[in-house]
């Protein structure tokens, strides 16, 4: 554990020793705020239109059920945030392994008591902790809807868990991609490519058999994430995200063996 603790400290120091972490955090906070306030503005305009139609001031009775803060603001923001995370998290994960390979410091790490498994575990742990921090920052604005939108804390917690697991899955995909290259650019692009491909397969329904379509839906990120966004915590979905993280860790671990024995 001493070795793992040392690695975690070093990873945090490296992460916050470069501007990428601060830029990513700022970018996500800004994008979330922009999306949130834009949807809020449109929502307020719709409310204003209804209030003028009734001519007697603001009459909530005249507002249809589907015009509510949840459907008009919170849910679309969460949808966009899911995609925003796919666009931004690979910017963090791209350096994690690729930079070590490019510098040759992975060799230095392995010359210590750190085993390849510990290196992978430590790097995933730190990245997941950073992603959790990103989630908190991302969630600040939407969470303000809790009062106005009439959302329960449980519902909001479900959304937060879903968002965090979604972030972990993207981070895991990005880390696995980073483990196979010494180019940060290739790591980022391949991370984006895999995550965007996994995001949604509904476009393929017209081209594949029903069975394949069901399979594609089962491995897609969007339906799982969407389920959490609706406030549903399904164990299947939790297993799905945990499974992605474990598979990605195994893939990253295998990259070390490939370098040791491969040609």
């Amino acid at each position: 554990m001493t070795e793992l603790r040392a690695l975690v400290r070093k990873e945090f120091a490296c992460l916050f020793g470069s501007p990428t972490a601060y830029l990513t955090l700022t970018m996500i906070a800004l994008v979330t705020a922009l999306i949130f306030f834009d949807h809020l503005r449109i929502y307020n305009q719709i409310l204003f239109l209804y209030s003028t139609t009734t001519m007697g001031g603001f009459d909530t009775g005249a507002i249809p059920d589907h015009i509510n803060l949840w459907d008009r603001v919170f849910f679309p923001v969460m949808e966009t945030l899911g995609l925003t995370l796919i666009g931004t998290i690979p910017l963090i994960t791209m350096r994690v392994f690729a930079e070590e390979h490019a510098r040759g410091t992975d060799e230095l790490l392995i010359s210590t008591h750190l085993t390849p498994s510990l290196v992978v575990l430590g790097k995933f742990l730190v990245t997941f902790l950073f992603v959790a921090l990103v989630m908190i920052v991302s969630f600040l604005y939407p969470a303000t809807a809790i009062e106005q939108g009439g959302l329960g804390v449980e519902h909001l917690a479900a959304v937060f868990v879903g968002l965090t697991l979604h972030g972990f899955a993207i981070a895991a995909i990005g880390l696995a991609c980073s483990a196979y290259t010494s180019s940060q650019l290739i790591a980022a692009v391949s991370g984006w490519a895999v995550a965007f491909t996994l995001w949604d397969f509904s476009w393929a329904n017209a081209f594949v058999s029903e069975r394949t379509a069901r399979f594609l839906e089962a491995i897609a990120l969007h339906p799982r994430y969407g389920s959490f966004a609706e406030g549903i915590v399904d164990l299947d979905n939790i297993f799905y995200f945990v499974g992605i993280a474990l598979v990605a860790m195994a893939i990253a671990r295998f990259a070390f063996d490939l370098r040791r024995v491969g040609s």
Partner: protein, 253 residues
């Protein structure tokens, strides 16, 4: 020696740590980087591993540290196999890589603390060992500076310092003066000279002056094969030692 990682015959457990390679082969696809190398690095001496670029020196080191696994043959450190008993080997081994293989965004002290932790030291032992190497390698003035802002000479001192944190009986030093100016080279050689004594140092270099100044025995690799092995004087100061470095079939101009 045995490949299962149990202490073998080479002197290494009580009276210092040696390295023993038997028919060690490492292939990268069709390329044979190391070809049936059998070599014994005796305990408690500074041993030079020489050869031109691409001769197989770094591959040999990577097999000793356990970063690479052999295609055939075996290597042991103090009787332990790096593949089967990595922890035993790592406890006995300090590794100085070529320059610039550090973390430029970390401060010197922070980096040394990390390396001490990664080598299994904890609590007060971390501070004690970091303070010791900072003093030993004269890093006090730069201890709080970012590694990325150091000169190459100081970078190499930091690299040397991390290898001595756990006071290992065997230190492997790969091209310690590569890319350094003559003054920095002199500084690093002086440091290496001071470190000689009750430990084994495997010095990997293609600089003959460095080998003459620091080593007692050398081995020369050429194209992955051992082409010369003996005392530094015998190997480097008789005949045409440069011929040993030239690729097979190539003659002096």
């Amino acid at each position: 020696m045995n490949a299962q990682g149990q202490p073998g015959s080479d002197a290494g457990t009580a009276a210092g740590v040696g390295i023993e390679a038997r028919d060690l082969t490492r292939r990268f696809g069709p390329h044979v980087a190391l070809d049936r190398l059998s070599l014994q690095v005796p305990p408690n001496e500074t041993f030079g591993l020489m050869g031109a670029n691409g001769a197989g020196k770094t591959t040999f080191i990577r097999l000793v540290t356990g970063y690479l696994l052999p295609s055939e043959g075996s290597v042991t450190v103090g009787g332990f196999s790096p593949a089967a008993n990595p922890r035993e080997v790592k406890a006995r081994l300090g590794y100085v890589m070529e320059t610039s293989r550090l973390y430029p965004e970390l401060r010197v002290q922070g980096f040394l603390r990390f390396m001490a932790g990664a080598r299994g030291l904890s609590g007060g032992a971390v501070s004690a060992s970091v303070d010791r190497v900072i003093e030993q390698f004269q890093l006090a003035d730069v201890a709080k500076r970012l590694i990325g802002n150091l000169s190459k000479g100081f970078e190499q001192r930091v690299s040397l310092a991390q290898a001595f944190l756990h006071d290992p009986p065997l230190v492997i030093v790969d091209e310690p003066t590569g890319g350094l100016d003559p003054v920095q080279r002199g500084d690093v050689r002086a440091v290496l000279h001071e470190l000689q004594g009750d430990r084994t140092v495997l010095l990997c270099t293609h600089d003959m002056d460095e080998a003459r100044a620091l080593t007692s025995n050398v081995a020369i690799l050429n194209d992955g094969r051992l082409v010369a092995h003996g005392t530094t004087h015998d190997v480097l100061d008789r005949g045409d030692p440069l011929a040993l470095f030239r690729p097979h079939g190539e003659t002096a101009a």
